[in-house]
Symmetry: C2
Subunit: 242 residues, 2 copies
DNA sequence: CGAAACTTTGAGGTGACTCAAGTGACGTGG
DNA sequence: CCACGTCACTTGAGTCACCTCAAAGTTTCG
């Protein structure tokens, strides 16, 4: 199946990132690709590999992670439908981290050569792609601050705020109601804390009335308070057009 | 003064990042710029500003940092001569972090418009610049792992290894002997630990025989051991050509 | 319906923090 | 050229956030 519809979410996302005309959109929608349905836990990129395709997440959720010498895992970002995950490796050659599906997901594999070719012909698309990688980098910087200088309560709240806003911007729910399909172990691996502490921390946030959680369903009850606890400022997401 | 020599370190660096021909090099060397000499502590980029120039570090050392709500500071990267610091904002519009000189430094301000224009005319240079920003992003990811999943000893050792290798690659000394012009407070702000603990940690690394330190002069005595303590693998620096 | 995976709760240990006081290096101005 | 202020480094002692280990619930899914 090579339905152009699979690329629509990419075109939509890049359209929110930069000004694209109809020829740009056409170039994106006519990229060649192959579709794959994957189960939770399936690896989409392996550290040390030399990817020749970019992975577009058509539906579902994924995360990037690295591991330390003793097997400790650190998730460095989450990804949602419309994210073109592997753009970070477009000009790097060798993958420096893993990418793994969190839920069942549908991905479209796009040859890197084709993306590079499109970038040469359509400068506006190239700029959008570059800008997308720069936004990723901005998010990494915020995560360094998050795990480096915030306590467990703020970290978890911050992750929630970021996920909520990104889902909202991608048209996948609102800030109050969105899917957060993570186990407490995922949240722990992303926040650099143990799952046990994440559990206590979520209870604490519920106790504050900022959040309601039950069986991996979360609902933000008090967005203002959650932002406050998280020290959340969305500038770093660069969601508004430049 | 608008001596082309100031741009030589940039041309050199980009040449190690991608294949550039003589026309590419010429394009880089003929960029317009203005030079400024700055003192330690001087800010080169302010969070919230809308930079219109890219800052090339001609000599000296600088760092990027963010602050949390209570004033806690997190350094997210260090920069050395030849680094074009502000490329991260080329397509972002608004600065999401501060950049500050650590030592006395010489910088060259290059108009972003000129860089974008050059990127359009010289695709190989554009690719080199893009690749440079992707390498930055890769380093951010490693830092998330570093502050998220390593103890103080490994963190500090890791920072040392990275700095050493980058200096070495930039032609600023060797792995054993290089300048690390940081106060213990800097090291603390970068590793997400307090300066007091950094002090004890450096003593500990000295005790292991991996390091000698005195009055902000550092020397690596046992590179193999330092790498081991740091869990250091240089893949993420993407130093070798792709 | 049963196994596996995830969540919850408790108790005791530890790495890093805060507070505090003192030492040493450096630069400046009288 | 010494007196003084400033900044960085050093060391100690008490405290706390988070960790580890452990075991019991609960949800999910084949």
């Amino acid at each position: 199946m090579t339905d152009r519809q699979h690329l629509a979410s990419l075109a939509r996302k890049l359209g929110t990132i930069a000004q694209l005309d109809s020829l740009d959109a056409e170039a994106i929608l006519s990229l060649p690709f192959s579709v794959e349905n994957v189960d939770p836990g399936r690896h989409l990129v392996r550290e040390g590999s030399r990817p020749s395709n970019c992975c577009l997440l058509v539906s579902g959720y994924a995360c990037r992670y690295k591991v330390n010498a003793v097997g400790g895992r650190q998730i460095v970002s989450f990804h949602i439908a419309g994210d073109i995950i592997d753009l970070q490796h477009l000009h790097l050659g060798i993958a420096d981290h893993h990418v793994q599906a969190i839920t069942k997901a549908t991905v479209a594999w796009i040859p890197m050569m084709e993306i590079k070719r499109m970038a040469k012909r359509r400068p506006a698309v190239a700029e959008a792609l570059w800008r997308d990688t720069l936004i990723d980098a901005s998010i990494f910087r915020e995560w360094v601050l998050n795990v480096g200088r915030r306590d467990a309560k703020s970290r978890v709240a911050h992750m929630l705020c970021e996920f909520a806003l990104r889902c909202d911007a991608a048209g996948l729910g609102s800030v109050e109601t969105f899917e957060w399909p993570l186990t407490q172990a995922h949240i722990g691996d992303a926040s650099g804390r143990r799952a046990v502490l994440v559990n206590r921390t979520l209870k604490l946030l519920s106790g504050l009335g900022a959040l309601e959680s039950a069986a991996r369903r979360y609902q933000v009850k008090d967005w203002a308070q959650l932002r406050l606890v998280a020290e959340f400022d969305d500038t770093y997401l660069h969601i508004a057009a430049a």
